[in-house]
């Protein structure tokens, strides 16, 4: 079991992409929060989170995205999640968080 999370950051002008790899749970969520939250506090900034290589996420991960979303609203920033695996996407659907967080629809199957 991969219990680590790698966060790879690509910066462009006004846009940051986070490529995540691994699992997002109670142990790795603080790392994600530490990388993601400061970006959401930048005025008009665009943040893309690529979850293609995230095989597992629990509710702690959802919590990080909720607080990121709240912060983007305060700072007129934009948050978008892309390439979610089926299992991860299901979490956003069950919790209806897909109705308030922008999720790009190309969904890859889980493994």
């Amino acid at each position: 079991m991969n219990i680590n999370l790698d966060v790879d950051v690509t910066e462009k002008e006004n846009e940051t992409t986070l490529h995540l790899k691994g699992e997002i749970d109670a142990y790795t969520a603080p790392l994600l929060k530490e990388k993601l939250l400061p970006l959401t506090a930048k005025q008009d900034h665009h943040i893309i989170v690529d979850l293609a290589e995230v095989s597992y996420m629990d509710s702690t991960g959802l919590g990080v995205f909720i607080s990121a979303l709240k912060s983007t609203k305060e700072h007129d920033a934009q948050l978008k999640l892309v390439n979610l695996q089926e299992r991860v996407h299901r979490l956003f659907k069950i919790t209806s968080l897909d109705t308030i967080i922008t999720i790009e629809t190309t969904v890859r199957g889980g493994n």
Binding site: D58, S59, V64, S67, R87, I94, T95, L97
Partner: protein, 336 residues
């Protein structure tokens, strides 16, 4: 504890006796002295120190190497004594924390305790097992004077003490709603505002609320992003998902919830669960929802309480089973 000085005269006497006679009684007394030293917080270097002093008094002409080696030992034992002190301090701290957590866990049990109501015509079973000491899942039955039965099932994100505290908040807000406001959608709308205002931005709660009305035998329900339960139709012998869409509590301040209603026939069952059930690990693989339903089906012929306990035991028995999250399962069957 106050540390007391070791009795040098006594020690010297024992040492001398032993060196001269090799008498077991002296050895035994030294043993007692050493036990007493622990009780009185006498440090190990203190004992070495007394030993050196006594030895020098008995043999003033010790060879220099022996003398030096004893001082060497003394230095080494000073570090040992410090490390030991630190270790004991941590152990005391840990046991204080342990007992505080156990007080909190007991308090949670009392605060959040719910009585499974005895209702003619309904067979109810419920089990809730925390992954750790404190439970972040919560279920509650509200049997009102008008004979309606409210069923609340909630799962706080995260585990441990913060989750348990958030649960207490939910319970007390729920208790404070007037009876005429106890419609599932209204309850969730109100709780959503309470949660949004009062918890950390990264915290949220998923919740299912159902209301059974025995007069017209209807079950009304609404869900705030909670793991869908299952509905068993006796007539068609078919299981379906209890679908209700709604945002988790605490994500926005103005969420609204759709309320669904279904007619319950004799023999039908309502099965509610938290995602601790579907997030059970088996080695490095997850137990899928279908598998969970298969296990539930296997025990559905039993009375509801026995069924929920068997389902939990089934997963608990599996090799490599690892409860990653709190586990809660409720089965409500309308008697034939």
């Amino acid at each position: 504890m106050e540390s007391v000085a070791l009795d040098l005269d006594n020690y010297r006497k024992l040492l001398k006796e032993y060196l001269l006679t090799h008498d077991e009684t002296a050895l035994y007394q030294a043993e007692q002295l050493s036990k007493l030293s622990v009780q009185h917080n006498v440090s190990p270097e203190e004992i070495i120190h007394v030993h050196i002093k006594a030895l020098k008094e008995l043999y003033p002409e010790l060879p220099e190497e022996v003398n030096d080696s004893l001082n060497f030992l003394l230095e080494a034992m000073i570090s040992y004594g410090l490390a030991l002190q630190e270790y004991q301090h941590l152990r005391e701290k840990q046991s204080a924390l342990e007992s505080e957590i156990s007080v909190a866990a007991n308090m949670q049990k009392t605060l959040l305790s719910t009585k499974k109501p005895e209702i003619p015509g309904l067979d109810i079973g419920a089990i809730s097992v925390p992954a750790n000491r404190m439970n972040g899942d919560y279920y509650h039955f509200i049997y009102d004077n008008d004979h309606t039965l409210g069923i609340a099932l909630a799962d706080v994100i995260g585990k441990g003490i913060p989750a348990a505290l958030a649960m207490s908040m939910i319970k007390y807000s729920m208790d404070s709603f007037p009876e005429d406001l106890r419609q599932p959608s209204r309850i969730l709308e109100n709780l959503n505002r309470v949660v949004e205002r009062n918890v950390d931005p990264s915290m949220f709660i998923t919740m299912f609320y159902g209301l059974y009305n025995p007069k017209d035998q209807t079950f009304s329900y609404a869900s705030a992003g909670h793991e869908p339960g299952f509905y068993y139709h006796k007539e068609t012998d078919h299981y379906s998902e209890i679908e209700a869409k709604g945002l988790v509590l605490g994500a926005t301040n103005n969420a609204t919830y759709d309320q669904e209603v279904t007619q319950i026939e004799a023999g039908d069952c309502i099965i509610l669960l938290t995602d601790g059930v579907t997030e059970c690990h088996l080695g490095d693989r997850f137990i899928e929802r279908d598998e969970v339903l298969d296990v539930i089906k296997r025990y559905m012929h039993l009375p509801a309480q026995e069924a929920v306990e068997h389902v939990y035991k089934h997963f608990e028995r599996l090799q490599d089973f690892h409860l990653r999250d709190d586990f809660t399962l409720i089965i409500i069957r309308k008697d034939v």
